[in-house]
Symmetry: none
Amino acid sequence: MLKPTSSAIIVLVGTTHPGNIGGAARAMKNMGMSSLRLVAPRVFPSADATARAAGADDVLAAATVYDTLEEAVADCSLVIGASARPRALSCPTVDPRTAAVRVAETMPGSSAIVFGREHSGLTNEELDLCHLRLHIPADPEFSSLNIAAAVQIVCYELRLASLAETVAATGESADHQEVGHQEMERFYRHLEKVLVDLDFLDPANPRHLMRRLRILYNRARPDRNEINILRGILTAIEKYEETLKRRGD
Amino acid sequence: MLKPTSSAIIVLVGTTHPGNIGGAARAMKNMGMSSLRLVAPRVFPSADATARAAGADDVLAAATVYDTLEEAVADCSLVIGASARPRALSCPTVDPRTAAVRVAETMPGSSAIVFGREHSGLTNEELDLCHLRLHIPADPEFSSLNIAAAVQIVCYELRLASLAETVAATGESADHQEVGHQEMERFYRHLEKVLVDLDFLDPANPRHLMRRLRILYNRARPDRNEINILRGILTAIEKYEETLKRRGD
């Protein structure tokens, strides 16, 4: 029998209680999923994690550990960050069901769903690495779910989306060549450098402007051709300076 | 603001680990639910339950304890029993989404969802008290969910069913100020002019490049703030030329 699973990667950032890592691993395996990445867990591996995994030891054993979220999602073209609190400045917000559809539309193995710390969630800087903000429609008066419980809901929706054959057909156009996280980061660094050259960006206070531009371009999710065009424009601006300088000589 | 909640009753039968009772209480409260009934719990109340409830103490405090499932569901007109294993002789099986719809169709406060023991689930006699069997579509090879995780999925679906009417209305965030067609056209003309200045765009053959950029920015659907930033960058490029020319004089 067909065993539909989602190839999405679950990323846990700064988890304090190892039991929650085990609970998340069990929730994943229950839904047929196996790719777990941990960013700076407080304790791992841990007997508590193994106990709560209750048989999902293989998911824990295969988990990879990173120092930063940026490294953990370097190879991902769709990064979705779970966040209970609305942010003043944020990428588009989706619910778990919509997130699962977006994952199903993305190339297998290149989507990550990111869950933050037990008490403080994800930082704004971490959310800025995300293309979408995931909001679980909890009671606003008691909105903080246990991490393993949040992972369970998301993996459940991912499994349902994998089981629904119809989703597969609605993907992006075939020639939409996805751009990895590192390539996007190179684009942002190039953009920031040129904006400083232009005196448009104050290097002493770059955050707000660059965050707005990130939100805009992450929303657009440029493909490889488009990134090449944008990078080409930035290079033309750099060369334009040289050209004008030569003309001025 | 409306706070949609489900009035369904969660019944836990013969729970061994009090932590799971606490986890279930938290999962319920996260989804705006509060009616918890316990059938012959091994330990209750318990510090472990309170710790895992993480603030859902009120749900635990209001929980009522029964000797048998029959007593616990005596006042319920719809009883749904969760069971991972298919039974030879069983009532109709529903998934969590369908169960939530059935609950929403039933008189408020008269539906119960029943979860069995950690290792053995519900007995056949207990399932015979149920009108429907609930099956969570887990991986058949690792199908036993933690009780609190199973409660979380079911309460999530119950909440979505309660929210269903309002969900349709939620679109983009309120502060996304849309940009009209003319404003976008002004942006594209400005962009085209600057790209010609930069020698990046051949005015004799502009079509293909501008179309690609239009597709990119139309996909992003910039809001007013974002268009102002992009126009500001274009103007900075124009002024940069003047600045450099002045420097070159």
